[in-house]
């Protein structure tokens, strides 16, 4: 039985009213497409930190990091440390993000056009969209599942659909009206609400369960593997290598992250945002991981069953008192709304800026017409995510699903970005090969995993080696393809 009461409902109501009002109020500043997509490149350091942190922490993040804690102990937070290192190194060195911000583009594929031509721009846009839509497709469902479980709402057979639709409408209204400007202002509010909730709930859990109980639970369930990922039977070196590749690729080429760099005032601000947000990514895995470990310590195994991602919300629904429950739900709504709005806008910007580039060259839409197209695209994406979330039969680890679907785009986009910035010999033959190789391997793995006849083979390969193969294959294809192309037939290159 959940402790969600009218007091909690009031807290959530006040939060929603404040966010929606702030998000809608700033729409009057949006008169141009560039303001809609990258906030006129006026984002400063602290707003950037709030926006990056809020964007990269949604309910789905909380679900998979808590599931990692429940299934792997503290070792499940290892990707958080890898994330922090990647952000810190890229921020300090400016690797790729410095030339990216200086190029003045709105999306990554637009930058690729300068080196590889318009065909590669369109193809890379398509890969980013396919990978991004499959990845974000489960977000609304995770949000709906969490909120239903924590609040204990039961309204017949369509509760999940109603919860997902309400979540989507709340986010879509201000994203469609104000674009990146509304997203940034609401991200700021959502970061503060989300952070307050995460910190308060974590302190309460450690106080209630006891730190020694948390350590003892991990020790008794997983032994040394609960603290050291290299000694964990489900992790090991292949897990660390694959996750290192995925998080580095995410930092460099994940469109919602890239959009923060491109919206920054200048490249120096973009680098500082990365550096100063880096430790947040440790918190992002450790804090919900502790919630998952607390669920492992407190809930009988029979109550949780096979679906371990349900353990944490089930635990929170019974342990949080009135008032704190409202703060948690407001915090999680804040986390989810900031993520969903940023992702809708990020993928919408690739559709408008890159996939529709050939059409825009012919029609030359006015600023007003361009804004209308963007708003329609964001609305259409929202409807797609709603139906995909209801349709896709997600099984097993959420983190494994997200890393595999992300690899479809990450492997090739990282290869293209690094080559585009630092290898003069790279050309469109290599780029096309890298895109094909990077997408074929993870897509094949997902198909093998779904077919009963080949599921055993997919399990034998495992998601880690499949992901590593995608990155390696993409890199090899870029080098071989670029070297095979005769130098005389090169695409016109524009230095970045």
């Amino acid at each position: 039985m959940s402790n969600f009461s009218w007091v909690d409902g009031s807290i959530v109501g006040v939060y929603l009213l404040a966010t929606m009002t702030a998000g809608i109020m700033v729409r009057k500043y949006v008169g141009r497409v560039e303001t809609f997509l990258v906030a006129g490149r006026e984002m400063n350091l602290y707003l950037g930190i709030a926006s990056l942190a809020a964007t990269e922490f949604g309910i789905v993040t909380c679900m998979y990091t808590a599931q990692n804690g429940y299934d792997k102990g503290f070792a499940g937070a290892a990707p958080g440390i890898l994330f922090a290192l990647a952000y810190l190194i890229v921020g300090k060195t400016g690797f790729c993000i410095e030339p990216m911000r200086r190029s003045g583009v709105i999306t990554l594929p637009e930058m690729f056009e300068k080196r590889f031509g318009s065909g590669i721009r369109w193809l890379s846009g398509l890969v980013i969209i396919i990978s991004g839509l499959m990845n974000m497709g489960i977000y609304l469902r995770m949000g709906g599942e969490f909120l239903i479980s924590v609040t204990g709402i039961s309204g017949g057979g369509h509760t999940l659909e109603i919860m997902m639709t309400v979540l989507l409408i709340a986010v879509a209204v201000y994203t469609i009206l104000g674009g990146m400007l509304s997203v940034l202002v609401t991200d700021f509010l959502q970061f503060v609400v989300m952070s307050a909730g995460l910190i308060l709930v974590t302190i309460l859990i450690i106080y209630r369960v006891g730190w020694s109980t948390l350590l003892g639970t991990v020790e008794s369930h997983y032994g040394a593997g609960g603290f050291d990922p290299l000694q964990n039977a489900d992790m090991g070196w292949s897990y660390i290598i694959f996750n290192s590749l995925v998080v580095t690729a995410c930092v460099l080429t994940h469109q919602p992250v890239v959009q923060r760099v491109l919206a920054a005032k200048d490249s120096e601000t973009g680098r500082k945002i990365f550096t100063q947000t880096s430790f947040f990514f440790v918190c992002r895995f450790v804090i919900p991981g502790i919630w998952g470990i607390a669920a492992l310590a407190s809930l009988p195994a029979g109550l949780v069953g096979e679906n371990t991602r349900a353990a944490m919300p089930l635990y929170l629904s019974t342990v949080l008192p009135v008032g704190l429950m409202g703060i948690l739900v407001a915090a999680m709504l804040a986390a989810d709304m900031s993520t969903d709005s940023s992702y809708l806008l990020a993928y919408g910007s690739v559709i408008y800026n890159d996939l529709l580039a050939p059409l825009r060259r012919r029609l030359h839409p006015t600023e007003k017409r361009g804004l209308l197209w963007n708003r329609f695209i964001v609305a259409a994406l929202g409807v797609f995510f709603l139906f995909y979330g209801l349709w896709y039969p997600l099984q097993g680890s959420v983190w494994a699903y997200l890393t595999i679907t992300a690899t479809i785009g990450f492997a090739s986009m990282t290869t293209l970005l690094v080559s585009c910035c630092y290898w003069k010999r790279a050309n469109n033959w290599g780029a096309a090969g890298a895109i094909i190789a990077g997408a074929v391997v993870p897509l094949s793995y997902l198909v093998l995993e779904q077919l009963p006849a080949t599921r055993g083979f997919a399990l034998w390969i495992g998601p880690n080696w499949s992901g590593i193969a995608a990155f390696a294959g993409s890199g090899v294809a870029m080098v071989v393809g670029s070297l095979l192309k005769p130098a005389t037939a090169s695409v016109k290159e524009i230095p970045i």
Binding site: Y29, A77, G223
Partner: protein, 57 residues
């Protein structure tokens, strides 16, 4: 017992709670200044655009 592993995650958790609390207060305070600056510059840009249009023959 994995005392080294336990100590490591104990320190990481403590660092998370201290860093995250500090950063939340800092961002809450400085973020407001950033938002006001951003909206001010965008408004000025709109006014400049309007003035440029009005000055066209």
């Amino acid at each position: 017992m994995n005392s080294a592993g336990q100590l490591f995650w104990c320190l990481i958790t403590l660092a998370c709670l201290v860093w995250y609390s500090t950063m939340t207060f800092l961002v809450a305070y400085r973020g407001v200044v950033d938002i006001r600056g951003m909206l001010g510059r965008l408004r000025q840009g709109q006014l400049d655009d309007e003035a440029a249009r009005a000055n066209q023959p």
